[in-house]
Amino acid sequence: MKHLFLLVLLTCCAFYCSFSQGGKPFFTATYEGGMITHPGAGVSAGTELFAHGKIHLDVGVKAAFYSHKNYRTAVYLLPFASLWLKNEDKLWYGVNYGFGIQRTFIPHSYTVNESGGAERLRFAGTISRLSGVGILLSGRTKYDGCRWVINPQLLQNPSGISKKEKYFVLGMGIIKSIQ
């Protein structure tokens, strides 16, 4: 909970700094494919924090999930920073890094009681910290202020036997600037 509070505080600070300097807000809507084919979706909102020539630094927060019926459904909140190289009228390239929190829901989960009986567990899963690092590629669409974006990202969470467990998520969707 402390971790979540800190994330919210830092995100609010970043947004405040950006807006007070007239930064441009944006939001994204993406397909979030865990291992590409474990389907999910995500939305994020962000703002430009810094710009110098073609180099732009954005900050934002993403809420997303992915799901596989026999693996897990994971919901995560990921405040992030994106460093872009924005070529006017051409492709934009960038990298992003985020640090947030994840809740997993492990399906068809049971426990076995002391007398050997199977008991269904509802909402079984874990809450853990989460970091994500990815690359960004974006191009123009025919819609004004709207660009497509591809964001392959490697998520990492530190829970369980598998410390620093990695998970690949392919984000694909749109970025819309809000003027």
Binding site: M35, V43, T111, A118, T126, Y143, G145, L154, I161
Partner: protein
Amino acid sequence: MILPNTLHDFKNMKKIFLILFAAVLLNGCSSDVEVSPSAKDFYHVEIDGAFIPVLVRGNTSSKKILLYVQGGPGYPSIDWALIDYPEWKNNLEKDYAVAYYDQRGFGNKQGKAGLDKVTFTQYQKDLHRVAQFLRSHYPGTEVILLSHSFGASLSYRYLVNYKDELAVDAFISICGPWTHDGDNVAEARWGFRHDYLVRLCNRFIAADADVEKWQEAKAWAESNDPIQTDAQMLQWNRYVIPAAIETDGGITWKDYVHIGFASPYNVFADLQYELNDEVTSRVIAGEQALSMEEDFGQITLPTLLMAAEFDDQAPLEEIQFINANIGSSHLQFDYFDNAGHTVYLDKPAEFHQSVVQFVESLNN
């Protein structure tokens, strides 16, 4: 494409997102189990912090589940089942259901359990809990251990340590050694291996195959009894390895694509080699601290022992020791000539027949 560009639209989009998420979540909740001749049921069993994945596939209406205990240690079972590596989908699973589970520390490794819970003792508890789960979840169903190699070593210890509360009805040991590289069983282990080499020599000399080489090996075996040093063990390996039969299960690129993109596997978690090595070391260390030599008499369940002619990991001589010492009164011993450690691949028809004969004999 309609793009929301007002706050109102954004709120609507959020609602849609939440509805979609709830639909996916509900989709993950299954109803109560129904038996079927072609079941494919997937579960997670929470045991001391770890969520152990369990796949039950095949004929659950037979009221018999073969609980497969994987060898290695270090080989996940679920991906193995998904690509049908042992090729049981079209034979064994038509007769009975087979339950596959990933041992703790391998596969997707979900949960909060740490490495401190990766022990040989915990592995026995996990096996017990998974068997209990199957019994409870499929009422009236017999659970039969189907254990290969290290899986059989684990099962021997489980059958002894949990003998008063077993959750299984019978036991099939596929080429399951009981010795290991620990000092406490070294004499027995290398005694069996010495006798295996002598048997190989006699077999090939009698068959007039590569006689000179096998005569040399026989002379070496006669002058190196007992085998005790590392140099002797290496030499033993050099003699026996060419005779070993290891049928390849034939993993194709389609299998890799299937596991990578169309299965519940998170390949990044599955293929953490360093971690997998650490898990393997911990489990083996636990196994090596124990000896089954005096304990086979405590195994009284109906048991099928399988041994193969060219199995250098669980030689016939080692399985014969179990056969002579096990406490089971309902005992079947099947020997497969021209087969190796993966007898289910080397002799699939005979393997299938052996399992069916044993399982059907349980009802007599």
